[in-house]
Amino acid sequence: MSSRSPHKTDHWGQPGASGDGATGERLPPKALLQRWDPRCKMLGLLGLVLAIAMVNDPALLPLVLAIPLLLALFSGLSLSFILRRLCYPSLLIVLLLLWLPFAVGDTPWRTFGPLTLYREGLAAALLIGGRFLGIVLTAMIVFNSTPLATNLKAMRALGLPWVMVDMALLTLRYLQVLKRDLQQMRTAMRSRGWRNRLQPRNLKTIAWLTGSLLLRSHERADWIYRAMRLRGYGQSDHRPSEFKVGAMDLLLLGLTMAIALLLALFNLELVVI
């Protein structure tokens, strides 16, 4: 990078993103994770979650959970915010945690009436639960420390096809608009006596509602495209990089990758604790 245009943000010099990307939460500006170059951050995240997905030994779970804990300390996110975001339990996870200990394994551990608790099943359930928490928390903390649109642009800078990124940015932009539209239409329907009940006619109502949204989106898209064209969309394939990497960014990336690698090595028992 030889020339730097003046509008580029220096992630270390300037107070970082006051991110409202994924959540609308305003962040205090100085946390380490928020100033980290988004490209490095995405790579680091990839390394961490893959390493966690590899874990096959329940003894490593404390280490797995230490990762999001460490990240949380440097994220500038409040504990209550993190916990609030976690309240979306996966039904599948809950079912597996309840089912595996009784269904998998040969070594009985405890017996409750007709039910036998197996060692192997319990270990599998623990692993799934631990990895789930580790990955979900890590990803959530990392993604909430930068606006989502910035993260998407970072992914484009890392080589994700521009068709995908442009599509994702537009989808993200209009999700809120469409959610408002849907809300408004439902209010209008309710004011005409509609109740969301289980009956065949309601399926038709929902189909028509969705169909109307699709029609309007289709029409709106053509206007958006015209507006984009008028402002030069597609005139040039050259996009100046919005990011720049400093020594600190690389150091953090190296550190993160080292942690991921260590976890992988522990798991392959190449390094013994």
Binding site: G24, Q184, M185, T187, A188, S191, R192, W194, L209, R216
Partner: protein, 251 residues
């Protein structure tokens, strides 16, 4: 006799901290609307007009105070077919493939049989003069036609009170005139919010000026809207037709 609509010490604030301070809030509103009254509602953006409407028809739950219909409180956080709402954007309201089906949507939800639904749809379309639109696909209507159909959809509920939120917004001259004629002929009680002051002057017999969630003025439109000082203090303009004309350009 009890008034049709009674608003008692009504207050409401949005819990969303992202909103600018107090935007759209309602503060200690007291008001009565009698049957047959046509009430206009004016005020700057963020004065609380839409909030007031959503509270009146029970979509929002007030933080304090109450809304009474014939002296009885509305069922909390519930909708009543006795109050109908016509939205600012007709597209928000119309979602069925054809006009007939859209107007029939409300009556069907009231559990009426097919004959009665048909009767209601016919009457409603007749009332707005849109019988010929019945088989047309909603998505191909003009903005003015959409507004008319949305009004028919509200009237088909046979409400006691109709609330219009910016009914003349984005209408062309002819559609606006058609709307005004329609409202003038209507014997319905209605509340109508608009920035189109001339429209209010023409169709309403009472006007409320709302600002910062408070009721600033209440009275005959020609009187309140002629008060230049009052109007300007609350971000309004004296309607052109009320300004004494030196150059008699209206002929």
């Amino acid at each position: 006799m009890k008034p049709l609509l009674t608003i008692k010490h009504l207050s409401f604030t949005y819990p969303d901290p992202a909103l600018p301070d107090g935007a759209g809030a309602i503060r200690e509103l007291d008001l009565q609307v009698g049957a047959g009254e046509r009430v206009g509602l004016i005020g700057p953006n963020g004065a609380g007009k839409t909030t007031f409407f959503l509270l009146t028809c029970g979509i929002l739950r007030p933080t304090a105070g109450e809304v009474l219909l014939h002296g009885k409180p509305l069922p909390a956080n519930n909708f009543t077919p006795r109050i109908a709402l016509v939205f600012q954007k007709s597209d928000d309201q119309l979602f069925c493939p054809s006009v007939w089906e859209d107007v029939a949507f409300g009556p069907q939800n009231l559990g009426l049989n097919n004959d009665m639904v048909e009767q209601r749809v016919k009457e409603a379309l007749q009332a707005v003069g849109a019988e010929t639109l019945a088989p047309r696909p909603v998505h191909h209507l003009s903005e003015g036609e959409k507004r008319i159909v949305a009004i028919a959809g509200a009237l088909a509920m046979q409400p006691e009170l109709v609330i219009y939120d910016e009914p003349s917004a984005s209408l062309d001259i002819r559609s606006r005139r058609r709307l005004i004629t329609l409202l003038k002929q209507s014997r319905q009680t209605f509340l109508l919010a608009s920035h189109d002051l001339e429209l209010i002057l023409e169709v309403c017999d009472r006007v409320l000026l709302l600002d910062g969630g408070r009721l600033i003025a209440d009275g005959p439109p020609a009187q309140i809207m002629a008060d230049e000082e009052l109007m300007q203090a609350h971000g309004q303009e004296k309607p052109h037709s009320l300004v004494p004309h030196q150059n008699q350009h209206h002929r």
